[in-house]
């Protein structure tokens, strides 16, 4: 084995004529936190499910912990943990019963089961609440419990499919801390998200769009590689109107909306706020409340990439 926890080779999944995952290639190093980013419907879940051995690829193959998803899905299942996008625990069972069930499924019993149960409870901060019904827990805590249960058998690789979606920002933070603890213990973590800012918590990431990988690398490398122009954040009362107005302006390279804010990647000659401010004024842009030069985010990268492909 090459030291890679996962090797993906031309992996493809079609549902009828629709290509959900389109011949993708990537690899995940042992012990890293690997981010899987993309908008809704990009094909993240489909890819993860193929890697877990529960969805047969249409063509191509992938090796997880050295086993082929095509020919040895059962061996893969013994070496991975998985947290599905939908809530994966039983609402009508107590916290303890959920833990014991999944422990039993992975063959834990006796002292080992008690030891792991205590670990899960502790990491989800639920010690002392063993008999509470799982359905009564708030979203963030539930997700921590689900993560603990997904790794109850201490698998070398764990797949987390949008574990933080619909969770408040503070819980998301503490969830990521838990992921880092796991990673520190040597577990390879593959995590999907559509919160692009969460990529900052990952080592390597891939960006997926419409079944294809559009970019890969570390978050900072991606930013350096794709955004070479100065980026300004413009706050305005009427963002859509402004966007239509300056879309075709000579100083505009790339433009994208974030609520009532707008990110403008400008030609290199406009490097300060006052330079771009006067250019906008000359072009007749109105109602501008504020302009700042910003460090581009991964969001800018992503929008730039997806836009480029569309053109």
């Amino acid at each position: 084995m090459s030291g890679n926890a996962i090797e993906v080779k031309n992996l493809t999944k079609k549902f009828g004529k629709f290509v959900s995952v389109d011949s993708i290639n990537f690899s995940v190093k042992q012990g890293e936190i690997f981010g899987f980013l993309g908008a809704n419907g990009a094909g993240k879940s489909t890819t993860i499910r193929m890697l877990c051995g529960i969805l047969e690829p249409t063509s191509g193959d992938a090796f997880v912990a050295g086993y082929s998803v095509k020919t040895e899905p059962d061996s893969i299942k013994r070496n991975i943990g998985y947290m599905s996008q939908r809530f994966s625990l039983y609402d009508d069972l107590s916290i303890e019963e959920n833990i014991e069930f999944f422990g039993g499924v992975y063959g834990l019993e006796g002292k080992k089961l008690i030891e792991r149960k205590d670990w899960v409870l502790e990491s989800a901060q639920l010690t002392g609440k063993e008999t509470t019904l799982t359905g009564l827990l708030p979203g963030g805590i539930k997700q921590r419990l689900a993560l603990g249960v997904a790794v109850i058998h201490q698998p070398p690789i764990v797949f987390l499919d949008e574990p933080t979606s619909g969770v408040d920002p503070i819980s998301r933070r503490s969830f990521w801390e838990l992921i880092h603890i796991l990673s520190g213990e040597g577990c390879t973590v593959v995590v999907t998200t559509h919160y692009l800012e969460e990529a900052e918590y990952c080592g390597n990431i891939i960006l997926m769009d419409a079944g294809k990988i559009v970019a890969e690398g570390t978050s900072s490398a991606l930013k350096a590689q794709y955004i070479q122009h100065p980026v300004f954040e413009i706050e305005t009362d009427s963002p859509v109107e402004l966007m239509e107005k300056i879309e075709k302006a000579p100083f505009t390279v790339e433009i994208s909306l974030f609520g009532n804010k707008m990110h403008l990647a400008a030609q290199d000659t406009f490097s300060t706020v006052s330079e771009i401010g006067s250019a906008l004024e000359k072009f007749g842009a109105k109602n501008i409340l504020r302009i700042d030069r910003i460090v581009p985010t991964l969001e800018d990268v992503f929008i730039a990439l997806v836009d480029k492909k569309g053109k």
């Binding site: 529960i54 299942k77 998985y82 039983y90 063959g107």
Partner: protein, 378 residues
Amino acid sequence: MNLRRLKALSKKEFKHILRDIRMLSILLIFPVFLLIVFGYAVRFDVENINLAVKDNDKSQLSSDFIKSFIHSKYFSFTKLIEKDADVKIVLDEKQAQCVLIIPAGFARDFYSNKNVNVQFLLDGVDGNTATVIYGYAQTATASFNNALTEKNLLRAGIKQLKPLDVRPTLWFNPDLKTTRFLIPGLIGMILIISGVVSVSLSLVREKEKGTIEQINVSPISSLELLVGKSLPYFLLALFDAALILVAGYYIFDVAVKGSMILLIFSTVIFIACAIALGIFISVLSNSQQVAFTVATFTSLLPSVILSGFIFPIESMPLPIQIISNITPVKFYIVTLRAIMLRGAGLSAFWQQWVYMLLFTSTLLTLAAIRFTKQMKNN
């Protein structure tokens, strides 16, 4: 099959059942309800039939004959009719359900070996009851006849020779007790409905909630999943069966004549049929609603209409007789009636076992294949 995984699955499923009122009522309350409704309300038993008598002979023999009726536990004597005209009134006013009319010269004709006709008038409004009463009257007459003929022949010096011994004995169900006849069908019907409906909901619920995904990604195999999840339902169904039998014994006086071991084995095999059908429906459906509807339809209707539970299969038109083979209840009822009413051994019903085992294994195999495929492509 890994026992530890099976145990974990069964334990979990058992807890789901305990916390689910709907499931609990399908498994425990519903059977009791059906038992009571069918056991009491649909009782065809006829006892204490009101009998009036018009004796035109007034001989020792005629009074013996009347006594033989009255002393049987089925008839209770209400009235001795004097005038011919009163016969009609007694029946019309429902003072009696039937009237026995003994002709003048009854004893004389009998001893001179002539044919004797006794008239027996019946209120035929309720055809079912009338048939039953008619059966009792025939039985009573025949046994009286036999006793007398024997005595007659003896008197004539012909000893112990019985040229003709007509004894219309009602086999297997000597009292024409319909409860006795119904109980096997009732057990079959209750077991299949509660088994099929509950099992079909259990798997589809995991599909609906998405928890099935977490199971699929674990080392649990399809077969382990299906078996592990069904085990608690299996045990509860056995408990139901025992409950009905005990109730049948204490409330309706239906005892098991044959081997208890054979009865248990037959029931185990039959519950396996019900569970296989439940699993099959569960695999094919994608929502609990669909599963519930299909399960109720496929278990309730055939088990009432086609199984021979109430309507005898022999009197159905041939095409329907053939269709009746789709329900395992039919085969279970044959088995149960053989064991409970006749005390018959395995040789009387082994074919039914074979059929039920075939039914189970076919459905389970189809379900497992379909399920494995489904999980790989969705």
